[in-house]
């Protein structure tokens, strides 16, 4: 205790929209929060519940899933699956007592660099106010990468 809380946040970014959006934010030299660890996936539909749960298990304080807007998916309907699946994962988390706000789904197109910055900043704020997941769930400390 006593250490300042530095949230660890995993962001799954879809290759075609959100990753490009994040990239463009960097190119335009917009400041996005360093607490967010981006992971590029080919489609937000690739993000399985297993992947999200593994992030939490490995000590992520929050998981962000960003994909193309509905209708703009490179694979036509990959993000439709995401739109159906993530709310269910959120409900499951809440049923066992994990704050569902630790998982957020949103849509960011490649042209929406400012929106990427805004969402990541908002999410970091949310997670800061929720505090460390280890403390909330009473999990032991462990090294990264598990």
């Amino acid at each position: 205790m006593g250490e300042p809380f530095e949230p660890r946040i995993v962001a799954f970014l879809c290759n075609w929209c959100s990753y490009t959006g994040a990239d463009n934010a960097g190119i335009a030299r917009m400041k996005s929060p360093p607490e967010v660890l981006p992971i590029r996936v080919m489609c937000s539909g690739r993000v399985s519940p297993e992947m999200i749960l593994r992030c939490f298990r490995a000590g992520a304080d929050g998981v962000l899933v960003l994909g193309c807007h509905i209708g703009d998916c490179h694979y036509i309907s990959g993000n439709h699956r995401t739109a159906k699946r993530i709310p269910l994962v959120q409900r499951l988390l809440s049923y066992v007592g994990i704050n569902p706000e630790r998982l957020r789904l949103d849509w960011v197109s490649s042209a929406e660099a400012p929106k990427f910055v805004q969402i990541t900043n908002e999410f970091v704020q949310t997670i800061r106010s929720l505090g460390p997941i280890r403390q909330e769930l009473g999990l032991p400390r462990m090294g990264g990468g598990r």
Binding site: E50, L53, S77, K84, L88, V89, Y95, V96, G97, L137
Partner: protein, 275 residues
């Protein structure tokens, strides 16, 4: 209706139907005990019983894969029927080669399983005969209401203690009529820690619960076979309600309704027969 009367009616139906079939899958009682058995001859039917219950869906799947042309009869309960409906939607069993003798559970059985849907509802199944008189649905699990009332921290305290009892016997998965994947995520060290009992984060149970969403037919076999008595079906039932609320989908009710999580937003999950 009493169970012994029901067994007599069942044996009568089975004897009438058996000559048209290549075999009838049911439970055979012998002096050594009872086990799933494929009946071929009418004389054997004296050993056909209704209890103990055993989920036959997985056996049907294996039999159909091995004998792709056989016309098989199966003695099922309401939950077995729902399980077969979900398996058929996922291409695991072929309904047109299955003749079902669906037996309605007695009120005592429905109570024992806390069954919400003890009456077979053969919507869309091509060949099925329903036997027995309908019993009323049992009361829902008290933990369902309790979980709603608890705050997040209390829920975590409760479930953490329940999941800590898990001995990783995989019995819940092995008995589940809906678990058929050859490569199981629960055995993959990428997703589930192996060799650690009571891991700090309950990945095993949460992954399994997600896989049960839109698939669990509420047979409660996992919970009844759990040596640690973890109330698994409470989680699955909560998710089942969510799937019904969000997508209007009831697992196992309608053979023509497609599982919503594998459909896009524009494809229709056909509406519920009984909303």
């Amino acid at each position: 209706m009493k169970e012994n009367e029901l067994v007599e009616i069942l044996r009568g139906c089975a004897a009438r139907k058996l000559p048209e079939l290549d075999g009838l899958l049911g439970i055979l009682r012998t002096t050594e005990g009872a086990a799933p058995y494929v009946f071929h001859h009418c004389e054997e039917l004296a050993g056909l019983v209704l209890s103990p219950r055993y989920p036959l869906g997985g056996i049907v799947r294996v039999l159909q894969a091995r004998y792709p042309k056989a016309r098989l009869g199966v003695v099922v309960r309401a939950c077995d029927l729902r399980g077969l409906v979900e398996l058929a939607k996922r291409g695991q069993v072929a309904p047109d080669r299955l003749y079902l003798l669906a037996v309605a559970c007695t009120p005592e059985e429905a109570q024992h399983c806390r069954c919400q849907r003890p009456v077979p509802n053969p919507t869309g199944w091509p060949q099925v005969e329903v036997l027995g008189s309908p019993a009323a649905a049992a009361e829902a699990h008290p933990l369902l209401v309790q979980n709603e009332r608890l705050g997040l921290a209390e829920r975590w305290a409760f479930w953490r203690q329940e999941f800590a009892k898990c001995i990783k016997c995989y019995g819940c998965r092995n008995i589940c009529p809906e678990c058929f994947c050859q490569a199981c995520a629960l055995e993959d060290p990428l997703w589930v820690e192996r060799g650690i009992l009571a891991p700090p984060f309950p990945t095993f149970h949460l992954v399994r619960a997600m896989h049960m969403a839109s698939r669990c037919v509420g047979c409660r076999q996992c919970e009844l076979s759990c040596p640690a008595h973890i109330p698994l079906t409470v989680l699955y039932e909560l998710l089942r309600r969510d799937v019904a609320e969000m997508f209007g989908y009831q697992a196992g009710e309608d053979l023509s309704a497609q599982p919503p999580l594998s459909l896009s937003l524009t494809e229709e999950t056909t509406p519920l027969p009984n909303p």
